[in-house]
């Protein structure tokens, strides 16, 4: 049966901002779904609050709404668009929960909107832990002994019956939010309390803990005719107890014999049929390693992170297929784009193995608890493809872009035996390295397996790598064999004591280079049409000769704080521009979640690590005109120098110019030469030096280690003592590197993204940060175009950008951050690459900036594109506001207050003709929902002077004021009615809707403020940590969110 004719218009819900547990995978699936629906001639309306996504591009859907993902806004969009159907299973947990809300409020019924694909009841059954257990019992599927509970008391009772340890699993949450393993009643009371709060329906499941069982996932598809298939299964190397999103995962399963494989597969098919799911779902099983018992752990009745991984691992486009099924197509009516000849009704066969490793933010939050459990902590992941497991694992490891070299962790050798033992026993980001270290030190495989509960097979695979390391050290293995096993040049160099390029030279001399094979869904049974490649050390290469000139685009690798989905957006747009300009676009990337690694985005996709070695292999194979490094964030930029040194042509801005912008000293020198003011400062190598410098430039100062990025380890110091302490910390953070100290310039932070071609400069406009400088640009609320920027300052900012652009010979992007202290405009930094804000600005002005920049890098002049001289785009009709979104509830002990170090994982955009409305939309979309009309203030002394006017605004908006004693006094002094609260536990006695807590000193878990922020988080009460943000919110609170207009994005095509 063809697509249903009665579905003319379909509304697709996106997943909103990137948070831990819900990342770029939903941009991938959502974008794929929209394309799949358009193919069927259906008019697609999309809503998503996240501007950094491809799916919110005007080309992706017929109409794109960037509006808050809240029922009231969706209702207005539905009222305006009157879609026939709603597709909610592609927007993650957010999409599902919204669909449920819209159904419950009767909105769908009122406007005659049909929920497509999986029926609401199936969703409820899968998400409601109680209904789910009942359903499984009905289907005769085993689930762990357990009970659902809605009170802590009931939880304790349940645990008493089941016996400790127990697992706490909240309903309707994602990423294991609020869950955990409790070994005692006291632990349970605590975990259950949080768990109940984090579940929208205040329900948790208390369950027998099957720690150490194998965790196996199946990706299943089913159509309305009842045909069902499993796309693939995946095995978590980390057994039960570590969230699948935090586990190292391989596909297909490696330690299941055919009997177990088929038993679980059969169970999966029975479950998807029993739940009546039409589309895709993810089913998680626990399998007893000692026998054949299994439990069904959960079903996610939607596309998921795992389905994105499965799609990339197999070449089977799950989201696309799910969308087609949702509009009535059957699996055998959907063509398999890979073979062209077969249909979607089959099960992929792999002739390679895939490894996925999560990317965690521990490097950004040193104070954070590195241990892994049932609550997800990873912000992203990498995937690697190899012909053997060691090859795939080693590729994945170097895709992480971390300090490890192969399985060598920098200081592993220095770990004491007890330290090492703890590291293998307790799951953490270092466990794989620890396992390798243990084997290196001669611990027997079985012992390590027993200690880790990791299957001996996997330990054995690590052992193969360790054995090869040893053989290399003794010179008893050939370079060819070491490469065939998968060791990177860097690891080989580290072992043999050579330089990495010496190893490469040896390889080239011996003609040792990888071939590239095709991912074809069928293990070679059919000729494949897809240009989806991975490298391996085999005999036959399958890359077809290219017809057109090629350009390589470097992606940005795994999503991490400071380098998010924005860079995938840029990568995809660069590819688009290349193809339109008649080139073959070649992508190198390793992130399975993203749109850029969808095999039909580029002309050729190389799923490879982003290291010099791997990129050079692609370049040697493709012989491109050049490489584009400006779109893949810092990962790609860092490769520019080495690539150029290896004789590769880097398109766009010259490499030495890039170097100037990356090297603070050189950059400050340039600014001085152009006599553009920048904060006074310098590099120091000792505390004495620090004191001296501070004495010269004056307080406050901003201190940071010199070698890190993302504002990592930055601190603002107001006293000389604090400055000295911060300097020590910075020096420790980067032994051998100086600490950088700049005068801290208090004032308005401005930012702009420009495109230069050496001659002309295109300036889309200027962003104004709501928070004063000192809050990382990535964490501040930004308004475009800036509303309070004096024209003269704007002129000056543009003038400086033009100066820099010409001085640096910018060909491509230029991002400049400024601070204006009321007198002078200082430049903080410039990035010669597509920045975090490029997608936001592109959407705000409705101009595809990345495509323009790409044209320029290919040699076009801006003038030819219609932008000559210093061309400032006219202000768009609507104001856009970008607000950051944090995942702090997942990050344990980490400090949640904003500062110079970036912490947010995602962002949302509010856009409206009225600046206030845009602000309210952005803040609302970012999760600042005031459930009680009251605000609690606890402010640093430095903020108390301005507190009066801010909280007066809150009062005017009808919020009751509460405050901790000192702050209360200040507010009273300002003539405001305020209730004192006990800082120990203000929430017990009062219903608080919003917390404004500005820290005196961040990161100090001992202080009231820190505890207050944590308590607010646990209670899901919005907490603002900058008075500036509070002010911006207070000013717009009087607006009624229910009254705000919804408008689709407008786009200006590139002429």
């Amino acid at each position: 049966m063809p697509a249903r004719a009665d579905l003319r218009k379909v509304l697709v819900i996106g997943s909103g901002p990137i948070v831990i547990g819900q990342a770029a995978e939903f941009d991938y699936s959502g974008t794929q779904a929209c394309r799949a629906l358009s193919e069927e001639g259906i008019e697609v309306v999309l809503v998503n609050s996240n501007p950094a996504t491809i799916m919110t591009d005007v080309e992706v859907a017929d109409r794109v709404y960037v509006e808050p993902l809240l029922p009231s806004f969706l209702e207005r969009i539905i009222e305006r668009e009157r879609p026939d159907g709603l597709l909610a299973t592609l927007g993650g947990q957010t999409g599902l929960n919204l669909a449920l809300a819209l159904a419950e409020d009767g909105v769908l019924e009122r406007f005659g909107v049909e929920l497509l694909g999986t029926p609401i009841e199936a969703i409820r059954t899968a998400e409601d832990r109680e209904k789910f257990r009942e359903a499984m019992l009905r289907l005769a599927q085993p689930v762990p002994p357990g009970q659902t509970a809605t009170t802590v008391g009931a939880c304790l009772q349940a645990a008493a019956d089941i016996g400790y340890p127990v697992v706490v699993r909240p309903a309707f949450t994602l990423g294991g939010t609020g869950g955990g393993i409790a070994y005692s009643a006291s632990e349970l009371a605590e975990i259950a309390g949080v768990g109940l709060q984090s579940s929208p329906i205040h329900q948790v499941l208390i369950e027998r803990c099957v720690l150490g069982w194998k965790e196996i996932e199946y990706e299943v598809m089913r159509d309305a005719a009842g045909t069902a298939i499993t796309v693939c299964n995946m095995e978590n190397i980390d057994p039960m107890g570590v969230h699948t999103g935090d586990s190292i995962v391989v596909a297909p399963s490696q330690t299941l014999d055919d009997i177990d494989y088929q038993r679980l597969r059969t169970a999966a098919l029975r479950i998807i049929a029993g739940l009546g799911i039409a589309g895709g779902c993810n089913i998680q099983f626990a399998l007893d390693p000692r026998g054949r018992d299994y439990y069904v752990i959960e079903v996610n009745p939607r596309v998921s992170r795992s389905s994105a991984l499965a799609s990339k691992a197999t070449g089977y486009p799950i989201a696309r297929t799910a969308a087609k099924i949702a509009v009535g197509l059957h699996l055998d009516e959907i063509r398999n784009r890979v073979t062209g000849a077969t249909t979607a009704a089959f099960e992929p066969a792999l002739d390679y193995v895939v490894a996925k490793i999560p990317r965690w933010p521990f490097d950004k939050f040193p104070e954070m608890d590195r241990r892994l459990g049932t609550q997800m902590k990873a912000t992203g992941e990498v995937m690697a493809i190899g012909r053997t497991l060691p090859e795939a694992l080693l590729k994945a490891l170097r895709s992480l872009d971390g300090p490890g070299r192969g399985l060598l962790w920098p200081d592993a050798a220095s770990w004491s035996e007890t330290e090492l033992d703890g590291r293998i026993a307790e799951p953490s980001d270092l466990r794989l390295f620890a396992v390798a270290e243990a084997l290196r030190r001669g611990r027997p495989r079985e012992a390590v397996a027993a200690r880790t509960h990791i299957d001996p097979y996997f330990i054995g695979q690590v052992e193969e790598i360790v054995a090869c390391e040893r053989a290399l050290a003794h010179g008893t293995v050939s370079l060819a064999d070491a490469k065939r096993l998968g060791l990177p040049d860097a690891a080989i160099a580290a072992i043999t004591g050579e330089a990495e390029d010496a190893v490469r030279a040896r390889r080239q001399a011996e003609g040792i280079r990888p071939v590239f094979k095709v991912v074809d869904t069928c293990a070679g049974e059919f000729p494949a049409q897809t240009p989806y490649f991975y490298s391996t050390y085999e005999t036959e290469d399958e890359v077809p000769a290219a017809v057109r000139p090629r350009v390589v685009v470097l992606g940005s690798g795994p999503i991490r704080i400071g380098q998010g989905i924005e860079f995938d957006y840029a990568t995809v747009h660069a590819v688009k521009a290349l193809r339109e300009a008649g080139y073959e676009a070649v992508i190198v990337n390793n992130n399975p979640e993203t749109v850029s690694t969808d095999f039909d985005i580029s002309d050729r996709l190389y799923f490879e690590p982003l290291t010099l070695e791997d990129v050079l292999h692609v370049v040697e194979r493709e012989r491109p005109l050049g490489v584009l490094v400006q779109f893949g964030g810092q990962t790609a930029i860092n490769l520019a120098g080495p690539l150029a040194a290896a004789g590769v042509r880097v398109l766009g801005t010259a490499v030495d110019a890039l170097d100037v912008s990356e090297d603070r000293e050189k950059f400050y020198d340039l600014l001085r030469r152009l006599d553009v003011p920048c904060p006074e400062g310098g590099a120091v190598t000792s505390v004495a030096g620090a004191r001296g410098l501070v004495a010269r430039i004056g307080l406050p100062v901003l201190v940071r280690p010199s070698y890190v990025l993302g504002g990592r380890g930055m601190e603002v110091a107001a006293t000389e003592e604090a400055a000295a302490a911060a300097a020590v910390k910075a020096l420790r953070a980067g032994p051998g590197y100086p600490a950088l100290i700049d005068r801290y310039v208090a004032g308005m932070e401005l930012e702009l993204d420009a495109i230069g071609d050496g001659e002309s400069v295109l300036i889309p406009g200027i962003m104004e940060h709501v928070e004063r400088a000192g809050v990382h640009s990535g964490d501040s609320v930004a308004v475009f175009p800036g509303q309070h920027v004096p024209p003269s300052v704007a002129e000056r900012a543009i003038e400086i950008a033009a100066l820099l652009s010409r001085a640096l010979g910018v060909r491509g992007f230029l991002n400049v951050q400024y601070v204006y202290d009321g007198r002078a405009l200082y430049v903080l930094e410039a990035n010669l690459r597509s920045s975090r804000t490029v997608p936001f600005v592109s959407k705000a002005v409705g101009v595809p900036l990345v495509q323009i920049a790409t044209r320029v890098m290919l040699g076009d002049a801006l003038a030819d594109l219609g932008f000559s001289g210093v061309h400032r785009l006219a202000a768009p009709p609507r104001v856009a506001v970008k607000a950051p979104v944090f995942s702090m509830e997942k990050l344990g002990r980490a400090e949640s207050a904003v500062g110079p170090e970036m912490k947010s994982t995602g962002e949302v955009m509010g856009i409206d003709a009225d600046p206030g409305a845009a602000m309210l939309k952005a803040l609302t979309a970012s999760g600042i929902l005031i459930r009680e009309r009251s605000v609690l203030a606890a402010l640093a002394d430095s903020d108390k002077p301005q507190a009066g006017e801010v909280f007066a605004a809150f009062a005017r908006a009808g919020l009751r004021l509460f405050a901790t004693p000192a702050t209360a006094a200040a507010l009273r002094a300002a003539g405001l009615p305020v209730v004192d609260v006990n800082p120990e536990d203000p929430f017990a006695s009062h219903a608080i809707g919003l917390v404004v807590n500005t820290p005196t000193r961040g990161g100090d878990s001992g202080r009231d403020g820190f505890r207050l922020r944590r308590q607010a988080l646990a209670r899901r009460i919005p907490c603002l940590t900058s008075l500036d943000t509070a002010r911006a919110l207070a000013e717009v609170l009087s607006l009624d969110p229910e009254r705000l207009a919804v408008e689709p994005l407008a786009g200006r095509p590139l002429q």
């Binding site: 005719a225 014999d257 055919d258 088929q262 002739d351 012909r387 293990a523 005999t539 036959e540």
Partner: protein, 350 residues
């Protein structure tokens, strides 16, 4: 020790010897099953063939008594990319010669493009090896079924209906599927006379899978032709081809066959697609006599996957409903067979 898979067309695939140090000659085929290497090794239908595993990692989860499809291995050789510790020893014990470290994907693509080739595992890749490869007796010229069929009748007791199983090299999985359903299974040699089978007074006859070219099995075809008139009958894989031939159809050799656990098959009656396990190099020509109906088609290449006689209680499928290795999506075909057998008996008793 380095060794080579040398094909009759001169193609050479280097690797490392595993299993027994000599031997390894036959028709080179590939399977895309990702699990079930032990089942593959012991499936009698692979008799005389060197099996290439397209999935690169073999031996990972060890070996188990449950996974045997016959008393021992039947493959003529075993070619893998990466052998996990244990496979080597297993092959030695089983006296199978194998080759590891092979670019199996290159080999699969070669066979897919040029069709199946005969080959040998040789210590040196020279022209002499090519000659030996070309000298390997083609499947059609060799009584493969005779090598794997039981010599005399064997009774496996069961409370339920008696099923005569014409053993052309039956997989243990098929026997188990019947016995799980309570059947008494009587294995009869492939060349048993119709009378001998009828003498068993079976409720139904199942013609099993097996190796090689069905067209050369004249006596078995005759037996099936005689029995199909009188006893409810089901054919599986080779048995399916034999039924087609017995009913006046034709079979042909495929370019490289179907071997794997992911073959989609559509059932004509309800449009449902099921994922099936297959292992065959010959197929039934769709041009069939009018009284024979095609019940199943392969979704990928539209080859005949199942047929039934319009009047007689007889049907057959090209795939393996029991999986092993692979899905049991089609298991209920055994129930259909037994239901048919049941009706048959009642009809007979009337």
């Amino acid at each position: 020790m380095t060794a080579f898979l040398v094909l009759e067309d001169g193609a050479v695939f280097p690797g490392r010897r595993i299993g027994v140090p000599d031997g390894g000659a036959g028709e080179v085929v590939f399977t895309t099953s990702m699990t079930g290497y032990q089942e593959v090794l012991s499936d009698p239908s692979y008799r005389g063939q060197i099996v290439t595993m397209a999935y690169p990692l073999i031996g990972n989860y060890g070996f188990s008594a449950e996974a045997w499809e016959a008393e021992g291995p039947h493959v003529a050789g075993f070619v893998v990319r990466h052998d996990h510790a244990g496979l080597d020893g297993f092959l030695r014990e089983a006296e199978v010669s194998g080759l590891a470290g092979v670019d199996t994907r290159a080999l699969v693509l070669h066979l897919r493009t040029h069709g199946l080739r005969r080959g040998v595992i040789a210590d040196s890749p020279g022209p002499e090896a090519v000659r030996r490869a070309a000298a390997v007796v083609p499947p059609g010229m060799r009584d493969l079924v005779g090598e794997v069929s039981c010599r005399e009748t064997r009774r496996l007791p069961g409370p339920g209906p008696r099923i005569a199983l014409i053993d052309c090299g039956v997989k243990a999985g098929i026997v188990q599927a019947l016995r799980r359903r309570g059947c008494e299974v009587v294995l009869v040699p492939h060349d048993a006379a119709p009378a001998a089978v009828e003498a068993l007074d079976p409720a139904g006859v199942l013609v099993s899978n097996g190796p090689g070219d069905p067209a050369v099995l004249a006596s078995t075809i005759a037996t099936v032709r005689a029995l199909v008139e009188r006893v409810p009958l089901m054919g599986i894989c080779l048995g399916h081809q034999l039924l087609a031939l017995a009913l006046g159809g034709r079979t042909y050799k495929m370019k490289f066959g179907h071997r794997g656990s992911n073959q989609p098959v559509r059932e004509a009656s309800n449009g449902r697609v099921m994922i099936t396990t297959q292992n065959h190099g010959y197929a039934v020509d769709p041009a069939l006599p009018p009284d024979v109906e095609i019940t199943h088609l392969n979704l990928n290449d539209h080859t005949v996957e199942g047929l039934r006689h319009r009047e007689l209680p007889a049907f057959s499928v090209q795939f393996h409903p029991e999986g092993r290795p692979g899905p049991g999506d089609a298991e209920e075909l055994y129930d259909r067979f037994l239901a048919m057998a049941d009706e048959g008996t009642h009809a007979g008793s009337r």
